[in-house]
């Protein structure tokens, strides 16, 4: 496993939204998908996954439905709602701004001051 990074506070919801926005997923699937799309760099603490899923569902950002998994078991699948998609877009944009700002701040050399 490659080097893994700690999750920044507040980013878990964003990652979950992103994961289920690609394709409906069950809880375990969300875990695997985040691992996959982050190149296994991000470790989601399993204990905080479900509270986060329930919170997002409660806020109406994702929706849940019971379905059948690949190995024919009953599983709860989460999909993103239009409100969730909107929120994801906003959060992505503000994240980009943050990253750009911090990157430019950190890249500053003494001559530039």
């Amino acid at each position: 496993m490659s080097q893994s990074a700690d999750l920044l506070p507040g980013t878990l919801d964003m990652l979950i939204s992103k994961a289920v926005s690609l394709k409906p997923l069950h809880g375990y699937g969300v875990l695997l998908r985040i691992g996959q799309i982050s190149g296994h760099a991000l470790q989601i603490p399993q204990g905080s996954l479900y509270p986060a899923l329930y919170r997002l569902e409660h806020q109406g950002l994702i929706a849940a439905e019971w379905g059948e998994s690949d190995n024919k078991r009953r599983a709860k699948y989460y999909t993103i709602t239009s409100a969730g998609r909107q929120r994801l877009k906003e959060e992505t944009a503000s994240w980009q701004r943050l990253v750009t700002a911090i990157a430019s701040a950190l890249a500053t050399t003494p001559d530039e001051v």
Partner: protein, 910 residues
């Protein structure tokens, strides 16, 4: 937001489904991970173990998920409530006292509030009631009309105001007005004789214009409403509507009632509709049985004094009430102005010769309640009563606060322990708050049930055997909402004080082994102030109650000038179509004679006005046969009486003679006058043989009788003369007075028999004893005396409980001190007096404040008192004495306990 609420509701109401889904989901997660591990080469068993391990505490995850869904708050709340209930169950005495205090306080408020709701705030059950206006007029003292029927009140500037209009004016306004949706008219007509299936009975009637139902949007529950066409077709066979109550009472809700005929005052009418239950006419406090078109007046209530029996075309006679719903686009001032113009034109057109008089001007009154006379009669009383019950509730709340403070002391250690074990202060505060609210809700629920049960008992105090109560209690959503709000506010407010105290506890201090549960100084001061506050309010309420009781007592023991014992009254109003003029007098004479001859009857008579019944006839007369001009005539009271009136009522004849058989219609008109009459007209003269006259006739004085009360007890005896009914021009209903040695029931049966043999269509009604009649005129005062005494006693009991509670806990916390005192040789009697003195001191201070309050507030109830000043030293000292005695009594048990302590035992407990 909606989404969150729905998701929370789903989780709460389908709790099982929510929980099992959550378990399923987590199990699936662990299994799926384990499957992946197996695929990666792990053994099944190892894989399961690893998956579980990495997932972490399942319960912890579930709990966090529940919180995310908002469910956790509710779980905790439920636990809090359960814990609170357990706490309350463990302290049954505390719970019972607190709940009962609150229940009584809130119950009293519920009962009074439901009365106020119905009298002051309830509206007609129609659409847009807020836009309804009752049309009235104001005028200077020189009125345009000759006669009015209905209420007429003086204005501040010496003019008059009334809601009565002549029918020609009403019709003109109806025709020309455009600022109201529709103007409609009505008139309560009191009781009329109905004959249904050959049986005569009295029903209450209301005349309504043909457009009332349409204008208000009242839809009958059966049949059809009265329509404008009915109003155009007066006379036999006309359409009437009946009330739901009358339908139930008289016809057992039989559908066949539609199309039935009955007679009203000898006129055949047809029932065409039944009103919805909520619609009880347009005058509050009255519940008419029958609704007739206005045009029925000439036949059903023929006017006996005018040229024609009809009032409908008489511009001089103002009697019809008018209402309308203002059009939504028209503002109040415009509506008033346009109606004012129309009224002026209508008055000028119908009374052209009265242009020099003061012209009436329109005034729009709120019409949402219809015509509301009850409101005027009772609003002061209701406001005083509501202040009373609010104070009682305050006393109850003081008890609650006191009890909660006391408990906070007892539970100090428990709370410290919980804080020490890591419970958040917020969590502990929430627990205490929950306890307070649970307590308040228990008390409130009981109080509301109590108030609901008691809601009819207050109006009942005002009803008599012959008249329904003018008051009614409405227990509706508004009342319920008010009670629940008050309860919750009390719960929150009064649990907050101990919350602040308890969570500020010094942990180490109170957890120390052997640390005594003592009160801080501020807490003790607070509890004592509460006692002083309770005593002050109780003294205030007791004083007021005392004043009202003495008012009632003064009314009851006032000298009447006649002897009311053993007299039975009843009223007879023979249909005018069959009995008028001389035939009517002959009938009354025959009845007087036959009833007087019944076995057991001492003497019988009759009069046009029963005594002390709040009704009177007056006229203006001048002495010595001169025709009175406006200046020198004086208003006097007159009664048309039978031959044996003075003998029956036992009003002494002081000089001259009583009225007798020789005073016939054809002989010289005579009168017996009372002493006040003599004092007014013939001071220092011999009035016998003198004459006096009003505008239309003169009387010859043949006798002088003692002063007797006429219409009411609380007013001085007015100058009064009595004339033989045989000599009066026309008679209405007559009330018979029968002094009998036999019981009321047997007498009434015999009387009914006599009346029936003469004419079966004549109803005998309003049967009551003279004493009941007198008592009925101060039913309001009685209601007041009863209620205020009850609330005063309630206050006393609540204060007593408060004092007991404080003194008991004061003694409990001072046990070691008392033990030392006794060990050092204090006698038990001294300990007893020490405790009692403390209680008496608090009560004395409270009583002093209460007396100051009574002195300050006495003015506001002056108008409700009779024969007593608002600050009466005897009443005040009585209240104070009673309060002090109760305070000593309440402190007696704790004091007794302290005095009989075994010093050794007491010291060891310390």
């Amino acid at each position: 937001m909606v989404h969150r609420l729905r998701s929370l509701m789903n989780a709460l109401f389908h709790r099982d489904r929510f929980e099992s889904a959550m378990s399923d989901e987590i199990r699936f997660h662990i299994d799926a991970y384990a499957d992946d591990l197996v695929r990666a080469g792990w053994s099944r068993e190892e894989a399961q173990r690893q998956a579980r391990l990495e997932f972490g505490g399942v319960e912890r995850v579930k709990e966090d998920a529940r919180e995310a869904r908002g469910v956790r708050l509710f779980d905790e709340l439920r636990a809090d409530v359960r814990y609170a209930m357990r706490q309350l169950r463990h302290a049954p005495a505390f719970t019972a006292v607190a709940v009962l205090s609150l229940a009584l306080g809130i119950g009293a408020n519920t009962a009074i509030f439901s009365l106020m709701q119905s009298v002051l705030w309830s509206t007609l059950p129609v659409d847009a009631a807020k836009r309804l206006r009752l049309i009235s007029w104001v005028s200077g003292p020189q009125l345009v009309m000759d006669s009015t029927w209905g209420n007429m009140n003086p204005t501040a500037t010496g003019g008059r105001t009334s809601t009565s209009f002549s029918y020609p004016v009403v019709q003109e306004l109806q025709r020309r007005d455009s600022s109201f949706e529709q103007l409609f008219a009505f008139k309560p007509i009191g009781r009329i004789t109905a004959v249904i299936d050959g049986q005569a009975e009295l029903v209450t009637g209301q005349l309504v214009s043909g457009n009332v139902y349409e204008a208000l949007g009242v839809v009958p529950i059966a049949g059809r409403p009265i329509v404008p066409a009915d109003d155009d077709r007066p006379g036999s066979g006309m359409a009437v509507a009946i009330s739901d109550a009358f339908w139930a009472r008289r016809f057992g809700r039989a559908p066949a009632v539609l199309g039935r005929t009955m007679t009203l005052n000898q006129v055949d009418v047809t029932i065409v509709g039944v009103n919805p239950p909520a619609f009880t006419g347009l005058a509050s406090g009255q519940h008419p049985d029958v609704f007739l078109p206005l045009s029925a007046q000439p036949v059903v209530l023929p006017w006996r004094y005018g040229k024609s029996p009809s009032l409908l075309d008489d511009p001089e006679y103002w009697w019809v009430l008018m209402m309308g719903r203002r059009k939504p686009g028209v503002d109040e001032r415009e509506a008033k102005a346009s109606l004012d113009v129309l009224l002026r034109q209508a008055v000028q057109a119908s009374l052209p010769h009265k242009a020099a008089r003061d012209q009436p001007r329109i005034q729009l009154l709120a019409g949402a309640q219809g015509l509301n006379d009850v409101r005027r009669a009772f609003s002061t009383q209701l406001f005083v009563l509501s202040a009373f019950v609010a104070l009682v509730l305050l006393i109850a709340c003081a008890n609650l606060a006191n009890l909660l403070l006391g408990r906070a002391v007892v539970r100090q250690r428990e709370i410290s322990l919980r804080l020490a074990l890591g419970a958040g202060r917020g969590r502990v505060a929430r627990q205490l708050l929950t306890e307070g609210i649970v307590l308040a809700l228990l008390g409130g629920a009981m109080g509301i049930v109590l108030g609901y049960w008691a809601r009819d008992s207050i109006p009942y105090l005002l009803s008599t055997s012959w008249n329904a109560s003018p008051l009614q209690a409405d227990f509706d959503r508004r009342v319920l909402a008010m009670c629940v709000t008050v309860t919750l506010v009390i719960g929150v407010l009064f649990s907050l004080a101990p919350v602040c105290q308890s969570t500020r506890v010094e942990l180490t201090e109170s957890l120390k082994d052997g640390a005594r549960t003592t009160m801080t100084r501020s807490k003790r001061l607070m509890r004592r102030s509460l006692i002083v506050f309770q005593v002050a309010l109780s003294v205030l309420l007791l004083t007021a109650a005392g004043l009202f009781v003495r008012t009632l007592w003064n009314l009851r023991s006032a000298d009447l000038g006649f002897q009311p014992g053993q007299i039975v009254l009843f009223t007879i109003d023979p249909p005018r179509s069959a009995y008028s003029g001389e035939a009517r007098k002959a009938l009354f004479q025959r009845l007087e004679e036959e009833i007087g001859g019944l076995p057991g009857v001492v003497s019988a008579s009759l009069s046009s006005e029963p005594l002390v019944a709040n009704s009177s006839s007056t006229t203006r007369v001048a002495a010595s046969g001169r025709k009175p001009s406006q200046g020198d005539s004086i208003q006097v009271w007159v009664n048309d009486v039978g031959e044996r009136f003075f003998e029956t009522m036992r009003i002494p004849i002081l000089y001259g003679r009583a009225l007798g058989p020789r005073d016939r219609a054809t002989s010289l008109p005579v009168a017996v006058v009372n002493q006040q009459f003599v004092r007014t007209f013939f001071p220092g003269e011999n009035p016998l043989g003198q004459t006096f006259a009003n505008a239309s006739q003169s009387w010859h004085i043949v006798g002088i009788c003692g002063d007797a009360r006429y219409d009411e007890v609380s007013a001085p005896v007015p100058p009064t003369f009595y004339q033989p009914f045989a000599q009066t021009k026309d008679l209405g209903a007559m009330t018979f007075e029968v002094r009998a040695a036999i019981g009321e029931a047997g007498l009434v049966k015999a009387v009914r028999e006599v009346v029936r043999t003469i004419d079966k269509d004549i109803a005998v009604f309003d049967v009551r004893t003279q004493e009941e009649q007198i008592a009925a005129t101060f039913s309001r005062e009685r209601l007041f005396a009863v209620l205020t005494s009850a609330f005063g006693l309630l206050a006393l009991v609540l204060a007593c409980i408060g004092i007991y509670g404080v003194m008991a806990s004061a003694v409990a916390s001072r046990i070691p001190e008392i033990g030392i005192r006794m060990a050092l040789g204090a006698e038990s009697r001294r300990v007893l007096t020490m405790i009692l003195r403390e209680s008496a001191g608090l009560a004395g201070l409270g009583a002093f404040i209460g007396v100051l309050g009574a002195a300050a507030l006495g003015r506001s109830i002056e108008g409700l008192l009779y024969g007593i000043r608002p600050f009466d030293p005897v009443t005040v000292s009585g209240a104070v004495l009673l309060m002090l005695m109760v305070a000593l009594l309440a402190a007696w048990w704790p004091a007794r306990f302290a005095a009989t302590l075994d010093p050794m035992h007491a010291l060891r407990r310390g």
